[in-house]
Homo-oligomer: 381 residues x 2
């Protein structure tokens, strides 16, 4: 892959931002990214917007032109949607656009405003990510991931306490992240005793409903980058069946495996080379699947290793230093972009109290639906 770079990153606070409009969120992320990149906005040649639910929940579509207008950019603009992988897919599309030679410098905005609506409407809209059969049957995403958890526990003996450890680690990380939705630490006991959502998953194993925006600026223009910029070493996407019933296995997300293998091949790297990763922990079980399917651990072996993936306790690899979807928050269209923001900042040493020491190679894994889409990016210092 030719040399292209993360030129700047921007991110807003994630959380229940009742008093902040989507337009304000977009402007905050954009201004922060421009400041970090130290460029003026007239360098931006195209805009890619990742968002899932603005149409269903708010009736507003045409978000490419909408946010180009909001940000004062008279440039080609695109909305890319792929459920909770909208941010990852937008990043991939932005990277393609730069690699194509059509554009030198582009902005990718991930954004979602989920709390301005009745919770039942938001929950219903989220099912737009799944198959018709799943939607019509009344299935919910906690329910679908609970099925994956049950299958994994049965096949590999994964325990509920091990799953709960994911939330413990990610809440600890979020306590170090000023932009995170939650700053409370939790214990395994608290996770297990929190209200049941869909057996075995409890409330503290489920990512929250969130508002937030994130932005990355991507460039091929070496004149704009300073010093030792973060390089995009790989971007890969894969798909699987939309619904669980058609899957070959319920103990893996095949799309994550395919996208990861492709990404490592493009980058000329292996899972052992990765120092820090942001993976898609929409539910506790999802992080276990990610750790195994990306290739950090063999199948069935991740669950016993979670505590070691914590900042300060890590032998080598740290997972979800931002707090992940669980504790940093999960504004769905923003998540895939926010993961890249976090990894780019870790590689540049800008991660404050949650800085992973000597991080040189980082990875992001973003999932849409119950695994129908997976997007993997690898960044390098």
């Amino acid at each position: 892959m030719q040399n292209i770079f993360i030129l700047g990153t921007g991110i807003t606070k994630f959380g229940e931002l009742w008093d902040v409009s989507p337009k304000t969120l977009a402007r905050q992320a954009f201004n922060e990214a421009l400041a970090e990149a130290n460029i003026s906005k007239n360098k931006i040649e195209a805009l890619f917007v990742g968002n899932m639910m603005s149409g269903i929940l708010g009736g507003q579509e045409h978000l490419g032109a909408f946010y180009a207008d909001v940000l004062g950019l008279r440039v080609p603009a695109f909305k890319i949607e792929g459920a909770c992988a909208s941010g990852g897919l937008s990043s991939h599309a932005g990277i393609n656009a730069v690699l194509s030679g059509m554009y030198k410098t582009v902005a990718v905005l991930g954004i979602e405003k989920m709390t301005d609506h009745k919770p039942e409407d938001t929950a219903s809209a989220l099912m737009g990510a799944g198959s018709e059969a799943e939607r019509m049957s009344g299935a919910t995403f906690p329910g679908l991931y609970a099925i994956l958890a049950q299958a994994h526990m049965k096949k590999y003996g994964t325990t509920h306490a091990e799953l709960a450890g994911i939330s413990v680690k990610n809440h600890f990380h979020a306590s170090l992240n000023p932009n995170a939705q939650f700053h409370s630490k939790v214990t395994v006991e608290q996770v297990l005793k929190s209200p049941p959502v869909s057996d075995p998953l409890t409330l503290l194993e489920c990512s929250p409903i969130s508002d937030g925006a994130a932005m990355i600026l991507i460039t091929s223009d070496r004149k704009l980058t300073k010093g030792n910029p973060v390089k995009i070493a790989a971007s890969a996407v894969a798909t699987d069946t939309l619904g669980l019933p058609e899957r070959e296995s319920l103990t893996e997300l095949a799309a994550t495996k395919v996208a990861s293998q492709k990404a490592f091949k493009i980058a000329g790297l292996t899972p052992k080379d990765v120092d820090v990763a942001e993976v898609h922990d929409c539910f506790s079980i999802a992080e276990i699947l990610a750790l195994e399917d990306v290739g950090f651990f063999k199948k069935g072996e991740a669950a016993g290793q979670i505590e070691k993936l914590t900042i300060g306790k890590s032998g080598h690899l740290v997972i979800n230093p931002s707090g992940g979807l669980k504790a940093c928050g999960h504004p769905v269209g923003a998540t895939g972009v926010k993961q890249i923001v976090e990894i780019a900042r870790q590689l540049k040493g800008l991660a404050g109290k949650r800085q992973v020491k000597n991080a040189k190679i980082g990875l992001t894994q973003n999932v849409g639906g119950s695994g129908a889409t997976a997007v993997v990016h690898i960044l390098k210092k």
Copy 2:
């Protein structure tokens, strides 16, 4: 721009297709495109889906993975949305993906199912293409384009009979197109006497609510193309303000001008080189604006020239041989892709009774909203 080609095209009947599901429409367009290309589906490396309203109207999002599943493609898949320009933007994204070197051969599907819902719901969903202020004020797209028509008539003396001539030409073309929604020819008098919608626009000056799908296969792989394939000479996108009140002029669509100038520059061609074009005639006035803003005519001079742009009467240039959005139909996400299908078939001599003689260079112009997005493609034999 490096050499990339239209490898195959597929299109369904456009119209009120009550008894056909979106899945069936997608399969029909895909199978036709594969047959024309004479390749098997395992050559397809990525899928780009243009659609606007599946989420708002049907609750189904994640359409990249959805249609990859429907078409039996386990490949990276993306939904790109930009209102009525969704098809054009998806084509541009597919072209970027091939130019990037990430993918050799990709499929672009434009699809929309608009008739399965209450007409007032569809009309309301369409306003998702406009600005918040326009939506909240109760404006409709016929109303917004009526404002553009009024401004053009006032400034350039364009007459209502001249606007009606657009519908006469496009209905005549559609009468030659077996896939068109309408096969009825109309007269200027009939257009003027049809029910008023928004002054001056009458019912027969407004594009219909339609179902339909279109597909193009794009490749950089010269081994897959036979003989003298259709080349993509340029693809360009531009944006303007989402709402009309912020525009500098109400007698042009600035985004069309910018995208066209960029496309002609990339292709090394001028408007005079174009033999046949599909332009975005969502309302009669929109075709006038397109003809002027693309550069076929000077401002204020297109209206008197419409009849000459008819198949068989053309000195040189034919506009909307398919019947355009007005008479071939306007399934919004499909339109931008269908325009490319039509032009590719014209250049290959596959256009049957509506074949434009000796067509060597063709253009498409696709608009989102009231001109906030414009996408221009130039194809060459």
